[in-house]
Every structure is written in structure tokens, then in C-alpha cells.
Amino acid sequence: MVDLLRKICLTIDFVSHQLGRLTRLSIFVLIGILMYEVVSRYLFNSPTVWSTEMAAMVFGFYFLIGGPFTLLHGGHVRMDVIYSKWSPRRRALVDVLTFPLMAAYLTTFMVGGFHIVNYALKFKQHSMSQWAPPLAPIEIVTLVGGGLLLLQALSFFIRDLYMVITGRSLV
């Protein structure tokens, strides 16, 4: 049982880490799109219709799929004035108690996301811009980003629970 839990946590961590390593490169794509727009507008006098919206989508992918990596490596800031003074077990206990906040937010996030993605797919929704890309892909990325973040939070929750019960760390 403990082995299984450990395996689950490590698998989630691995996925978050590898996805983050891939996603961190998309900032170059972002820079590339925006520079392309500047150059084509001034040098070739032909501004694009898609650059701003495309850049926003890449940016969404960047912070959403990079979210679990950020959580894994402690990048999501905490107000740690009091927290940093506690013992590991006490921290784990408080984190277990406040986990429902994280779970309520991200679960509802996903429920709402399913409705909205469903709607976009059913009615083949397009953006109301000149370029008019379909909306479903980026909405699905948003949904997946929330889901992966919830998974990473769950991995920490399992560890915290183990710490509270046994006083030892799981991994």
C-alpha cells in the first residue's frame, strides 16, 4: 500500500517535471511570434492578423502546463512568516487541513471547464476576431492545465497525510 502511494506520487512528480522542462522552451516561440510581427510590419509593411491572439495562446500554454512544475518546485508563493517556523509534521498537518481550498477551487475549475469545452465543440465556436481561430483547443489546454495542477496538489496531499500519520516522509 505504502509502496503504491509512493509510486503514485513519484509518477505525478515525474510527469509534472518533464512537462515543465518541455514547456519552458515555449518562451522562445512567444518571442519569435512577436518579433515576426514587428519585422513583417516595418520591413515588409504587412502586419499579421494572427500574431497577438496566437501569442496569447502560446502564453496560456506556457503558464498553464508550467503550473504543476511550479508547484512541484515550490514556485507558488506562500505567506510563510508563521509557516516557516513550524516543524515538518505540523506543516503537513496544516497543509492537510487547508487542502480542501485547493481541491474546491481546482475541481470546480474543471467542472466549469467541461461545460465550456463541450459547448465550444458542440457549436464549433470560433474567436470573434479577423483571424477567427476555433476556441476549443486553447480551452482544452486550460482544462488540462487545471487538471495537472490538481494532480500535483494531490501528490503533495498524499505525502502530507503520510507525514501526519507516521511522522516520516514518504519519498
Binding site: 515543465g20 519552458r24 522552451l25 518562451i27 512567444l30 518571442i31 512577436l34 518579433m35 510581427e37 514587428v38 516595418y42 497577438t52 491572439e53 501569442a55 496569447a56 495562446m57 502564453f59 496560456g60 506556457y62 503558464f63 498553464l64 508550467g66 503550473g67 512544475f69 511550479t70 508547484l71 518546485h73 514556485g75 507558488h76 508563493v77 506562500r78 505567506m79 510563510d80 512568516v81 508563521i82 509557516y83 516557516s84 496544516v94 497543509d95 487541513l97 487547508t98 480542501p100 481550498l101 485547493m102 474546491a104 477551487y105 470546480t108 475549475f109 474543471m110 467542472v111 466549469g112 471547464g113 461545460h115 465550456i116 486553447i138 480551452e139 486550460t142 482544462l143 487545471g146 496538489a153
Partner: protein, 443 residues
């Protein structure tokens, strides 16, 4: 339960839950979600996702990773070391010169980075140890490094102004220009203060001994390194204010330019690049998740009609006097800034205050500068000033700088900040003059 009670309960439970040390975005998102479900049942269940997806609508957000990337690249590629070296060579012979030069360095770094922590980290890791070695007064240098870092809030390109501009629906370019003169005034106040202290008591900032002073050849050589960063600053900010590039594009130019400078400096390697990429992604993701949860929280607040509650409350406190309301708003920012993260505070409180500010006939651009000045003060003051935690991480272990010294060292600088805040309140032209030169329609 009355609407007032629900709004009050939401806000206080968020503040209290933040103290448990749960990630900020999870606390704000959790409280917002629970309130939405409680108020509107299943009608509220789409709100978290809609707020999360709103990044598509707020396109200026995407300059955040670009400016963070630019700042980190310049910091890690040794550009800041070179600039400090130039200051060291040129200012070392003056009493307190390194201290004054460090303030200048911070102002310069602020023009190349969107984030306030960048200045504190750079000055704290490069300038602080060097000044301590030269026998500078511990308390003074600890304070000036923190105050200098906070200049990043005011001096363009500043991320706080980007967020404020989106919320208040005013031009970000105007806000950046509006922050520039108050930022320079503050830097000047710091420099004058250090100069006076060290002139009265040279042991606080002793000049470098004569035999260690640099020759003119070395001085000119050091100056050459200052040229490429100045070109970069022009490309990023100059082109924007001349109307050539948009705010998003100037971020991309900055990021690319920083990369080229680092390559010219021959300091670019894959290990460093990995660090920059990881940190950029983590800082951006942290920022945006707080942003989208604060949007959710603020949407629930809006649904409650919190604007009217706050307006009624402020009116009853100040007796309808517009300057009274203004001063209470400033105080509330200062108090909340002690506990709340500045991004979250901006997104939750500014939508409530800005309509009131407009109703009272004040300029939202000017108010933005006052807001950022308040953020700066909150950033420095205990018990929850963010930079205090940054400082705790970077002061050299053997320097004898304790938490007590870090806390007390900011006092003179906070007084100078309050003086600057009062100046801008009394003379709004200090903020509004520069944007009026460049833009026709400053509001």
C-alpha cells in the same frame, strides 16, 4: 446574512487563511469558489474556469514572462557585475560613493527588468558584500539595498503598472511615464541622504585608499561596458514611447536584446540558460495563477455589489470630503499591503476604488502612481514585507547582519518614501507632466 456581512466575511477569511501558509493562489481561488457556490449554487460553478480562461482577454499579461526573462538574463549573464564595477571605479573615491552608486545601479537595473525583486537580489548579492568589505555602515547599506530594489516598482517597465493599467483601463505607456519622475525623485532623495550621512560621518562610507584608485584608462574602459545596456533600454522603452512598438512587442525586443547582450558577453551557457528558463516559467506561472484567482474573487465581489458597500463605508468615515476619502484609501492600501500579496491586493481592491476615484474627479493615472508608491512602502515594512524575506536569503552569513538590523535599516528610507508620496499627492504634476508631453489624452 446581509450582503455587507458576506463581503466582510469573505475578505477576512481570505486574509486569515493566507496566514496558514497555503499557496496564495489556492487560498484566493478556494475562498472565491466557495463563496460563488454558496451565493449562486450551480450558477456559480463556471466562474473559476471563466476567470482562469480570461488570460486570452488580458493580452498585456504576456509581457510578464518577457520582462522577467530579460531581467534574469541580464542579472545572470554578469551584466550587473560589470555595471557595478564601473560604479566602483568611478565613485569609489567619494565618501559614501559606492552607496550612492548602488542606488544609481538599482535605478538602471529597474529600467531593464519588470520585477522589483531583481534590483534587491542584484544589489544584495553584488554591491552589499563589496560595500561591507570597504567598511561601510551595515545598517545603512542594508537599508539602501532594499530601498534601491523597490525602485523597480516605479521605474518603467514595471509589472505593477501593467496590472493597474489593465484594471483601471488607462494606458500602460502613460502610467510608466507617470512613474518615472517620482522614481527619479526617490532615487535622488536616497543619494542625497547617503551623501549627507557620509559627509557628516565619513566612517559610515569611507573612500577607497589612494593606491587602489583606478587610472583614467581603466575608467574609460569600464564606461564602454555601460553602452550596450543603454542601447537596449532605448530599444525597449524609447521605441514604445515614440509609438513604434506596442507594449507586448517591446517585451519581446527586451527579451531578445538581453539574450544577444549575454551572448556578446560570452557568458551564455546551457546550465545558465536552464536556470533562467526555469525561473522565468515559475515566476510567470505563479503570477498568472494569482492573477486569475484574484479575477475570480473580484468577480464574486462585484456580484455582491461591493463597490457600493465600500463607497458608503468610505463616505461615512470621511464625511464626504474627497481628500479625506483619498487619505483613507492610502492608509488602507498600506495596512493591507502588510498582509496581502501586492498582485492580489491590486486586483481585489483596485476595481473597488478606481470608480470611486473617478467619481471624485481625481486622475486615475495619478492615483496609479500613488498606489505604486504605497506598494513600495508596504514592500519594505515589516512584518510581512516581501523584500525582508529576499534579504534573509541573500545577506552573507558572516556579515553579522541580523533580522533586527534588516528591520530597522529601512526606517530612514521609508520616511523618504513617505515624503515622496506626500509630494506627489500635493503636486500631481510631478506624475502627470511627463505623460502629457508624450500623449495627447492623459486622464
Amino acid at each position: 446574512m446581509s450582503v455587507e456581512m458576506i463581503a466582510f466575511f469573505m475578505f477576512t477569511s481570505m486574509l486569515l487563511l493566507l496566514l496558514t501558509g497555503r499557496e496564495i493562489f489556492a487560498v484566493i481561488g478556494g475562498v472565491g469558489t466557495i463563496a460563488a457556490l454558496f451565493l449562486w449554487g450551480l450558477g456559480g460553478e463556471d466562474m473559476p474556469f471563466i476567470a482562469g480562461y480570461s488570460f486570452m482577454k488580458w493580452s498585456p499579461l504576456l509581457v510578464i514572462p518577457l520582462f522577467v526573462f530579460m531581467g534574469l538574463t541580464l542579472q545572470k549573464s554578469g551584466m550587473a557585475d560589470k555595471l557595478f564595477h564601473a560604479i566602483y571605479i568611478w565613485m569609489g573615491r567619494v565618501k559614501g560613493g559606492l552607496g550612492m552608486g548602488t542606488v544609481g545601479l538599482c535605478a538602471l537595473i529597474a529600467t531593464m527588468s519588470g520585477e522589483s525583486a531583481a534590483g534587491t537580489v542584484t544589489a544584495g548579492t553584488i554591491a552589499l558584500p563589496s560595500m561591507l568589505k570597504r567598511g561601510y555602515n551595515k545598517r545603512m547599506v542594508t537599508g539602501l539595498v532594499q530601498a534601491g530594489g523597490a525602485l523597480g516598482f516605479l521605474i518603467p517597465p514595471s509589472i505593477v503598472f501593467i496590472l493597474y493599467g489593465m484594471i483601471a483601463k488607462v494606458s500602460i505607456g502613460q502610467l510608466w511615464l507617470a512613474g518615472a519622475i517620482p522614481g527619479l525623485i526617490l532615487a535622488t532623495l536616497y543619494i542625497v541622504y547617503i551623501g549627507i550621512r557620509c559627509a557628516l560621518n565619513p566612517s559610515m562610507g569611507p573612500p577607497i585608499p589612494v593606491d587602489e584608485r583606478a587610472s583614467w584608462g581603466e575608467k574609460l574602459h569600464a564606461l564602454v561596458f555601460g553602452v550596450p545596456p543603454l542601447i537596449l533600454i532605448f530599444l525597449v522603452l524609447g521605441l514604445l514611447f515614440m509609438g513604434v512598438t506596442t507594449i507586448i512587442e517591446c517585451g519581446a525586443i527586451g527579451a531578445l536584446g538581453a539574450l544577444i547582450l549575454a551572448a556578446m558577453n560570452r557568458r551564455l551557457n546551457w546550465g545558465m540558460m536552464r536556470e533562467i528558463l526555469d525561473e522565468t516559467m515559475m515566476i510567470s506561472s505563479m503570477f498568472i495563477w494569482i492573477f486569475v484567482t484574484a479575477i475570480l474573487f473580484s468577480a464574486v465581489f462585484d456580484g455582491l455589489g461591493a463597490i457600493h458597500i465600500v463607497e458608503k463605508f468610505l463616505n461615512s468615515l470621511a464625511g464626504g470630503n474627497r481628500w479625506g476619502i483619498m487619505i483613507i484609501m492610502q492608509l488602507s492600501f498600506f495596512l493591507m499591503g502588510m498582509v496581502l500579496d501586492d498582485t492580489a491586493m491590486l486586483l481585489i481592491v483596485a476595481p473597488l476604488y478606481i470608480p470611486i476615484v473617478k467619481d471624485l474627479g481625481f486622475s486615475p493615472v495619478w492615483y496609479g502612481v500613488l498606489y505604486v508608491l504605497n506598494c513600495q512602502i508596504a514592500y519594505l515594512t515589516p512584518p510581512f514585507g516581501y523584500n525582508l524575506f529576499i534579504m534573509r536569503g541573500i545577506v552573507p552569513k558572516d556579515s553579522g547582519i541580523t533580522m533586527g538590523i534588516i528591520y530597522r535599516s529601512v526606517i530612514p528610507f521609508v520616511i523618504l518614501q513617505i515624503i515622496c508620496l506626500i509630494l506627489v499627492m500635493v503636486f500631481p504634476q510631478l506624475a502627470l507632466w511627463l505623460p502629457e508631453v508624450f500623449f495627447a489624452n492623459v486622464i
